[in-house]
């Protein structure tokens, strides 16, 4: 019962933060920025790269443990130029990789894809050759993501939105985490696995609390928009 309460809360909490980040279009801010960085690097490196024709129109999707939304990369290669389009939530992908940013860094340090797969750090669904080709491109582009992201997010007019959005998302999930922790505490201290009336009462109270926190968050969002509108 408590576990399922916990699960329900976590779910609610994830839903709330996904809704907030969706409404503020955070995934689109991210894909726009990443797309800009990759295509700039591509334009600089074009001549050194492997041919793109074999993977033209192919889509690779990355599901990173640290990120709440997937990133999909599609190659568009024409006679005049090659570009990569970055999207989120695509419905069809030629290859999907489940991994983490930590593991991707190892890939950059030239550890082989197959080794990482063997070590269970990376899970590939679909055309593995495609994953290898994308990995090669990523390696030859050698983008310094940290400094590039910092630079570009400073430039785009949506910077503020992203910043506030992150704060809001964080406080929604912090509220959720606190409740999870509190429920965990009851389990430990009262050493009871059945739910008591007082626990239910307190759970209800906390649900009310989170509802009012969500209300005040939405007020803050209102204010944010009116601030932006006044500027």
């Amino acid at each position: 019962m408590q576990t399922s309460n916990n699960q329900a809360l976590t779910q609610l909490n994830t839903q709330a933060s996904t809704q907030v980040s969706d409404s503020l279009l955070l995934p689109q801010v991210a894909t726009a920025t990443i797309e800009l960085i990759i295509n700039k690097a591509l334009a600089l490196n074009n001549n050194k790269l492997v041919s793109f024709s074999a993977i033209n129109q192919k889509t690779l999707t990355l599901k990173l443990a640290e990120l709440s939304f997937p990133l999909s990369f599609t190659v568009n290669s024409t006679a005049s130029a090659t570009g990569i389009i970055v999207r989120t939530h695509v419905e069809s992908s030629d290859c999907t990789i489940n991994t983490s940013i930590k593991t991707l860094k190892k890939l950059k340090a030239k550890q082989s894809l197959t080794l990482l797969i063997k070590q269970d750090e990376l899970d590939v669904n679909g055309d593995i050759k495609l994953a290898q080709q994308f990995a090669n491109i990523a390696q030859s582009l050698a983008i310094d993501w940290q400094s590039e992201l910092a630079r570009h997010l400073g430039d785009v007019p949506t910077h503020k939105l992203l910043h506030f959005g992150n704060k809001i998302t964080k406080s929604v999930s912090a509220a959720g985490k606190k409740i999870e922790a509190d429920i965990g505490e009851y389990l430990v201290h009262e050493k009871r696995l059945v739910v008591t009336t007082s626990q239910i009462a307190s759970f209800n109270q906390q649900t009310k609390d989170i509802a009012s926190q969500v209300d005040s968050l939405s007020e803050r969002i209102d204010k944010l928009f009116s601030d932006i509108a006044e500027k």
Partner: protein, 279 residues
């Protein structure tokens, strides 16, 4: 299909509609009557709306992209990205970017459908189409795009032609929206989907007020300063307010035959993306 690609002097439908506007009653607005409709807050003869809207877009065409960035703080790019993400587009698809104007969505779709696919950029207004065509050519996007001057109410395509139809910030300018929705439904393939990106009703009262203030006080002034055309931007602000809200538009789509109709509020409901399928 009358492509203006080869013939940039194509008939200007914006001043001579292909067929007479008929008298279907619209569900969205009680002030609509048999012969009159809205032009912003003004009630005008239906027959006049097309040419008045045309006047607005002929006059804003050149500065349209700059103004879009300014007016929305660049956020319109994110709304459009969200639309592409929701489109489920894949290589080989046939896409209609209706009221496509200067072709932002077309540019992305063209890259995603590839050589096997096709994107039709359709707009009623020749000035907007010309600006769009020049922009896309400059970007090197030529191989799979077709330009068609057409009125959304009378689409000049065969039934069951497209996998995806998008209409971004266009539906509110259309005189008979129900008719346009039915026309879109007919040109979609079974299994195809329509995406309507349009200004809508903000979810919170406070945001609504801030947004009103912005639209009626700041926006027309910006239009005056940058595009030397305050009146057109006053029209834009008014037309946004007269546009059906989220639930009303959803019902209109369902009336036209669309199924599994949903909408998603973006930026607090300032804009909504409606989605519906033809089965």
């Amino acid at each position: 299909m009358s492509s203006t690609d080869q013939n940039s002097q194509a008939n200007d439908l914006s001043t001579s509609p292909q067929a007479p506007v008929d008298a279907d009653t619209s569900v969205d607005n009680s002030a609509e009557s048999k012969d009159t409709t809205h032009f912003g807050y003004k009630t005008i003869e239906k027959d006049d709306k097309i040419s008045m809207v045309a006047g607005v877009f002929h006059s804003v065409a050149k500065q349209y992209d700059v103004m879009n960035d300014l007016m929305s703080f660049g956020i319109h790019r994110l709304w459009k990205r969200f639309t592409i993400d929701a489109s489920g587009v894949r290589p080989g698809n046939k896409v209609l970017d209706l009221a496509g104007g200067t072709g932002d969505l077309t540019a992305k779709f063209s890259q995603l459908v590839g050589r096997e696919g096709k994107v039709v950029l359709a707009d009623i207004n020749s000035s907007m189409l010309n600006v769009g065509r020049d922009k896309l050519r400059d970007k090197g996007l030529v191989q799979n795009i077709e330009y068609v001057q057409a009125n959304a109410e009378y689409l000049p395509f065969e039934e069951n032609t497209f996998d995806i139809v998008t209409i971004a910030f266009g539906l509110r300018n259309v005189t008979d929206k129900d008719k346009a929705l039915r026309s879109i439904y007919s040109v979609l393939k079974p299994g195809g989907r329509l995406l309507v990106l349009e200004f809508s009703k903000p979810e919170h009262e406070l945001l609504n007020k801030a947004y009103d203030f912005y639209s009626f006080n700041i926006l027309p002034k910006m239009g005056e300063l940058v595009a030397k055309d305050g009146e057109s931007y006053q029209y834009l602000a008014e037309s946004i307010r007269m546009h059906p809200d989220q639930e009303t538009l959803k019902a209109m789509m369902e009336n036209a035959g669309f199924e599994q109709t949903t909408f998603k509020n973006l930026t607090g409901g300032v804009v909504a993306l409606h989605k519906g399928y033809k089965f």
